[in-house]
Homo-oligomer: 369 residues x 2
């Protein structure tokens, strides 16, 4: 914490200071239990790692079931839209919020399939929105400013947006959620993501800037140039995460960073969607390195910045199906995998209890003869 530049608000300092890593005893117990189950050791690959992480996060083995799950879709607009980084009209952000609330979007269909709740958080859509029971009005400002001209937001607004995310995590957990899923909506938000990933991973803009929801080569080159301009103007420093958010971030990125910190503080797993979540997770990691203990990479987006972010976070994605939608779609698809990992560690019989001969035991016995 002492390496951070810039003072944190009392709320933020309290949260980040409270976050600790995995419980070593529970991790060891989970590894041992995995090795006693009626299957070859290691045969469940990444699912074994997930079950161990869930145990270490909860501090007990087997871990509690990561249900119910809640998807929090943070929606906001971006001043950098003015630089022509996407062919989508900016009003699509608000239109898609209406679509989420009406239950007509992809995240609604996936959430219905995997039995997850969907909540939309207006943290900075560029226009006023009608009230709705599934919409949390947490607007910090009407979209960010154009990062190529001025900071995207003030430090205070960045802090406020992170605190919104922490509060949303608390509210969802208070309402019963035992697994949070990051979602996002914001036309032009992959541009802010690229800038954040560039700062926190020390990568060049051309390596972390991608096609987003689908742009042509000329727009991609412009987008890379826009990211480079913003970084050159603000010179954001990774050791000052709030400053980075203020300079080149988005309101949904700040909110998601807060959601992740809130989940980590409550020892509840948080499943990351694509590049928006990945860049927000880098902010969370910069604020509280141990928060990675709560992170599960739901999917591997086609966005290059998402892959670089996951590598930096040391996370392996569970779903890898060339998705590039956002909304929390890829992360929500991973929920049954995460639940299966927990259930296996909880329910599967051991060699002893099932009366199945264990290869390893037998080898030991034979060696002992």
């Amino acid at each position: 914490m002492s390496e951070l530049i810039g003072a944190l608000s009392q709320t933020l300092a309290g949260i980040t200071g409270s976050i600790t890593g995995l419980d070593a005893e529970a991790v060891q117990a989970a590894r041992q239990r995995q090795d006693s189950l009626t299957k070859p050791r290691g045969a469940l690959g990444v699912l074994e790692d997930v079950s161990v992480q869930l145990s270490g996060l909860a501090g007990r083995c087997p871990p509690p079931a990561p249900t119910p799950a809640a998807v929090a879709v943070f929606a906001a607009d971006h001043g950098v839209y003015a630089q022509g980084v996407t062919p989508w009209p900016q009003e699509v952000t608000a239109q898609m919020v209406s679509n989420f609330l009406a239950g007509g979007a992809v995240i609604n269909a996936i959430a219905a399939e995997v039995d997850a709740r969907v909540v939309v958080v207006d943290i900075g859509v560029g226009v006023p929105l009608e009230p709705h029971e599934a919409l949390l009005d947490r607007k910090v400002r009407l979209g960010t400013a154009d990062m190529t001209v001025e900071p995207a937001m003030t430090r205070d607004q960045a802090t406020q947006a992170v605190e919104v995310g922490i509060a949303v995590a608390r509210q969802l957990i208070d309402e019963g959620a035992r697994c949070l899923v990051t979602g996002d909506m914001g036309i032009a938000n992959t541009t802010a993501s690229a800038a954040l990933v560039a700062v926190f991973t020390g990568s060049d803009p051309e390596l972390v800037t991608g096609l987003g929801t689908g742009i042509d080569q000329a727009t991609l080159l412009r987008k890379i140039d826009v990211v480079g301009q913003a970084l050159a103007r603000h010179q954001p420093e990774a050791a000052d995460p709030i400053g980075v958010l203020a300079a080149v971030g988005g309101l949904e990125h700040a909110g998601l960073a807060g959601l992740i910190l809130g989940a980590a503080a409550a020892r509840v797993p948080v499943v990351l969607d694509g590049v928006i979540a990945g860049s927000a997770a880098l902010v969370a990691q910069a604020l509280a390195p141990a928060s990675t203990a709560a992170m599960i990479a739901g999917h591997r987006s086609t966005e290059p910045g998402a892959r670089i972010a996951l590598d930096h976070l040391g996370l392996r994605a569970l779903v890898d199906l060339d998705l590039r939608l956002g909304e929390g779609s890829g992360a929500a698809l991973a929920l049954p995998l995460i639940r299966s990992a927990a259930r296996i560690l909880t329910e599967v019989a051991t060699f002893d209890s099932a009366g199945v001969v264990d290869k390893e035991e037998q080898i030991v016995d034979e060696a002992g003869q």
Copy 2:
């Protein structure tokens, strides 16, 4: 069909002759519908392909929900066990069948999580088994013979085992299943799988033989040698799929090939697990090339033969998490992904219905101005 060597039984000829590929009209309708949904075109990657396949298989768009699902675990023993290809005791096959029936295995936990039924088919376990309501007694023989010494089974037995699989598919579909999942249990069955993959893909034994559930390097070398010996002895020809099964196959491989053919004939999707299913799918493809229309690769096993089989079948796996368990575990984990793909095509709003501006339409409009 005329290229096949060796006569097929009347049942088999009837089934294989009835299998046709995807319905082109439904495929086109599904592609068009995907492009009208409120998301960037192509943003759902592989899930879009799955939804199109489901539509083409069912012959209508949107496709019916692929539920309920049934996992059929075909269990059998292998004479080639005598060649020392695995450190597991052979009695583990029967012990794991008991574990499945008691609900204590990994496939039971995953099936409970993803809401799938589990049925165990004794198609050739080496010892008599106690009756159980979830156990189908379809034993063709008490395990195969050692393929390095004699054919694994007779042609009639291979045909009978394939017909068992077809009948199991019919029974499960009659009982309500709208998605079948391949499962398997059989100590030493990756050796037979390697031999099958080698024959149908024209690959060398060392490329398709893997570590199975976990063997040391010396055992791997012996296993490769055993596969090579069996192929050299029998010289099986890919154009004679029943002959290949008889020479170097396993009873569960034959049963799974039948299950796949039965699913394809009924236009019901069948989700493939790892290398056992992959090699059985090669048999099904050899008997009825259009049967690949019904196949969905549930997961990508660490077994090299599984990957080579999927490449040969032209299938992309949905789950890729370093699993190497079998039992149907990887395939069952893919069910929520497949269901989500169908649900998205069915439930998500279109740009028109949701009042969301479509980027592509706008571009067309702008170009037209």
